[in-house]
Amino acid sequence: MDSGLVIRKRSPEDAVVALAGNPNVGKSTVFNSLTGMNQHTGNWPGKTVTNAQGYCRSKKHSYVMVDIPGTYSLMAHSAEEEVARNFICFQDPDAVVVVCDATCLERNLNLVLQTLEISRNVIVCVNLMDEAKRKGVRVDLERLSGKLGVPVAGTVARRKKSLSGLLQAVDAVVDGKENRVPLRVRYPRAIEDAVSRIEPAVRSKSGGRLDSRWLSLKLLDQDPALTREIGVYLGEDFIMDPQLCNLLGEVRETLAGQGITPDRMKDMVVSGLVRASEELCRDTVTYEKSTYNDADRAADRILTSRWAGYPIMLALLALIFWLTLTGANYPSQVISNALFWFQDRLTEYFHFFGAPEWLHGMLVLGVYRVLAWVVSVMLPPMAIFFPLFTLLEDAGYLPRVAYNLDKPFKGCRACGKQALTMCMGFGCNAAGIIGCRIIDSPRERLLAILTNNFVPCNGRFPALIAILTMFFAGAAGGAFSSVLSALLLTAVIVLGVGMTFAVTKLLSGTILKGTPTSFTLELPPYRRPQIGKVIVRSVFDRTLFVLGRAAVVAAPAGMVIWLMANVTVGGVSLLNHCALFLDPFARFLGLDGVILIAFILGFPANEIVIPIIIMAYMAQGSILELQSLAELKELFVSNGWTWVTAVSVMLFSLMHWPCSTTLITIHKETGSWKWTVLAFLIPTAAGMAACFLVASAARLFS
């Protein structure tokens, strides 16, 4: 995991500020507003799974801001919590900002109180003040600050201006101008006695490098992982110190004599923290209306209801696809016309300057044409799909999907949060695989990683959309055609999700045996998405990013393909040699050699599969001016495509090896070649089997 984060200061004076907080309190939004960076934000718990850092400047200082994963506690039960705790404890940040949700302050204060035990340089940022106001929740910030003994700043992180108070507070803490005494939670007598018996020894032996009260508490409750970390930080001499060990042994015995086992002690500590938070809130938070959450409850009753829950999920998916398909049609046409007009101009220039034909072929017919295809086919659907999906994400719908799908996932002995990682896979499978960190159980996490590829990433969407429209929906014509496409696409996705369930079940019955672990999932309040920002962000951060990646791969691939299609050995092009070689096998799967080659060459990025197919067919003879899907269909049909080929290509696109980036990510996340190889083989085998079945059935009945 990323606990070994290296802080990159821009100058030695930079102060390091950690941003901590419960999941889903707008921590990443605070981070983005402060640093001007674009960490992905979304209304669901657990989307920041690694530390991110950025820079920001106040009137007095320059800061390195570190966005650490959201956690409920610092008692480290999961990987993210460990990352968060280790950073606050052992990386000595100059200040720690704990971001809280004003609408749910009580639960958040638990983390604040735990942070106060470790660090004196804490600033509490009560975020989402606007939401709280709307719901009639009033937080007395001044009073809270007085009680906690640290600065408290109210913010609306979406509005940058509201963060100036927070920065001032951070300045004051870093300058050492805050010399109030932070609140310390008092635990039951037996624990306090035990702490006071060991604290002096702990203080002198640790040299004051960690808070001695906190250190004493942690040594008493004997968390093995934390003890190890402390050993690394303070040195083995400290942990193994005979005097200290003896004293600890005695005190633990006294506690045991009072019926306080380490587990019981942890309970008492947590209860103490929760009670203290409760008390703090009683004095500082007032609710003006008891019905403040009624709208959310009503929405939940519909979106997660027994009868409507699943249909609404499907309907939303189909609606998004329909909007994407309908909206993308026209701009796709315009962009492709423009780009191919430019190709003709390029060709004229090349001829004008008397460039050799091979150079023109390689650069214009190879590199440029593939790029043009990738851009015109991918850009419009992505520019529509991403914002729509982000809207759902921002509004807080995704956790409801996980809630709805937990039962079937449990049936496969997996975790409902796999639904969240599946949703991330729609954007990019590599991102989905990193997202699997939100699943605590290693077994369930592996299940999610190995099956993530069954949902098509947006690199595969355009091909699916194009083929669906050409072969199945185009004939219907008019408005109905896009409705039909959307429904068919939804069916394809449902098939992918079905495969996810089937394979998950298969794996948890064979190589990943085990019982489902316990599961808690927070369903955050719905929030009104910021439509303008969503559009800008998803177009610039996601669409252009993905497109850029595709272009980087597509350009050289275009050149390679052109060369393969035009360099001949024995009168036959290299591409044909390869295609002919693979053809017999590909026919079994309902494909042809060219298609299979395209998938193989598309290993670095799935986006280029269709462009490769087009280029290979065009190089084989019939030169076409490809400006519409109808002409494209003509090209495919003249190369022997039938509806069986179309279905097989879609199935294979849905189920084949993950792209190289995804595989590298899987290797990084699992640290094992075995799982990486399996992640390659499982979808490939599933796809080949599905294609073989369809092709054989079609042969049988035709």
Binding site: S271, S518, F519, L521
Partner: protein, 78 residues
């Protein structure tokens, strides 16, 4: 008319006060972290379409818990 039941026995719309956690290990820690200690008031908000998990209002936050886990949380209805 209060009765003793488990969190799993709470019907949608019903409220109760936590009396005891029989859970152990990681789940126990998780539940304590979200503030589910003795005397915490909870409300069952509803069930997911499959009938499980259920959603509970715990200290102002909505948390979904599976029935296997919520059966180990004893409470008194109110």
């Amino acid at each position: 008319m209060s009765r003793t039941t488990s969190l799993a026995g709470l019907r949608p719309g019903e409220k109760g006060v936590v009396k005891q956690l029989l859970t152990s290990g990681a789940m126990r820690r998780r539940l304590l972290d979200i503030g589910l200690i003795e005397d915490t008031p909870v409300e069952c908000l509803g069930r997911s379409p499959g009938g499980d998990p259920s959603a509970f209002l715990i200290r102002g936050a909505v948390i979904a818990i599976r029935s296997e886990d919520s059966a180990d949380i004893l409470l008194e209805t109110c």
